[in-house]
Amino acid sequence: MAYHIKLEQFEGPLDLLLQLTEQEKLDITRVSLAQIADQYLDYISHAQNITLDHLADFLSVAARLILIKSKALLPLLEFTEEEEEEIRDLEHQLAEYKKFKDAAKKVGDLVDAPFVSFTREGFSGLGVVFYPPENMTAEDLKKAFEKVVGEIPVVEKLEQETVRDILTLEEKIVHLQDALRQRAHASFSELIANAKDKVEVVVSFLAMLELVKQRIIHVEQEGLFSEIQLKHKEEK
């Protein structure tokens, strides 16, 4: 790999992007986002510490970076209103996140500073007096307990299951390579015909970009929004 970025532990795509811009000493602008798009993509395709349940977050940012990057490479490319909106949101989110990340450092200084208040035991010195709530019944207790049971999260396990099916980028690259080797020539829409959702399409697209960069495949696209054709270089 060309890049060996040394970053602190990062949490989430915005954190990663922010650290990349800071490392390159860039402000948060569209131009600088285009500049670091490759680093971001490299990073997430090789990072070991992105858990599957966070992958979707990383990929949705990746998709927007790819848009920004394409525009930088192809100035004629025009964004749809929706795309423009998504990119603007990313820029703003990043700027806002930066504010809170900076604030968190200052709050952290307060946490570490030797200033702590203490409070006293409430009602200290008072003996226990039996003060039952007026209208409480055994049935109220039962209902409250059932509510407690009902609120215990069972969701988290479900989330894990649904994400488990999604392939990682690494796996997708291998899959793409194999598919191309077998057919020598394929269109992007053929390759993603079995994709289960948007995330998998984005993963496939990232995998394609990665293969282009490693000069393993060659892609052609005749016009905007037209079909992308992929060829395996060895098969030329």
Binding site: E121, F123, G125, P132, N135, T137, K142, A144, F145
Partner: protein, 190 residues
């Protein structure tokens, strides 16, 4: 150290301690001679004697203690009554129900079930006599909580087993599983 700072320190320590504290201990904490401490205590007594102060310094032999001014007892009693005698908040009711159906149970376990710190609620329920605590047989430094006999009686039952659906609810598996997963992962590691 200057007088004003000393006054501030002594007031902070007296405030937090709640109970009476030996003057020698106070002097040691503030790092001053007994004579200096006496001066500071004098200044504090003077300050508390102003009409606008709500505090007073009680002295009993070698011990001193911060307390609320006796003139305000009516208002203080009203506050205590309001705070303790009002209806239970939904959160407090939930804690009581957990203690009723799963007691005796530790604070850590209650918190694992609700996902929220319960120190304040537990103290309040103890003061109201709705729950009781005893030493935790599995952890000598901790306590376990159970519903008080008075509350059971008020609810019209003589033991927890007679609470509605006790047999099924007290063995509810989701509760058991969250207690075991959550108390394994130390909640303090963040």
């Amino acid at each position: 150290m200057e007088q004003e700072k000393l006054q501030s320190i002594i007031e902070s320590v007296l405030f937090v301690s709640g109970e009476g504290i030996k003057k020698s201990k106070l002097a040691k904490i503030a790092g001053v001679e007994n004579g200096v401490l006496e001066e500071v205590l004098g200044k504090l007594t003077e300050k508390y004697s102003l009409p606008r102060s709500g505090l007073t310094l009680l002295a009993k032999g070698e011990e001193v203690q911060l307390a609320s001014k006796a003139d305000n007892v009516v208002f203080v009693e009203q506050m205590v009554k309001n705070e303790l005698a009002e209806g239970l908040s939904p959160a407090a009711l939930e804690v009581v129900s957990i203690i009723a159906y799963r007691g005796p149970i530790s604070k850590t376990e209650i918190e694992a079930i609700r996902g929220v710190n319960c120190s304040y609620t537990l103290r309040n329920l103890l003061l109201r006599g709705l729950i009781e605590r005893s030493d935790n047989p599995r952890d000598s430094r901790g306590y376990v909580y159970s519903i008080s006999f008075e509350l059971l009686k008020k609810l019209g039952v003589d033991r927890v087993e007679k609470l509605p659906d006790y047999a099924t609810l007290s063995t509810e598996e989701r509760i058991t599983s969250i207690i075991s997963t959550d108390t394994e992962n130390n909640p303090e590691n963040n």
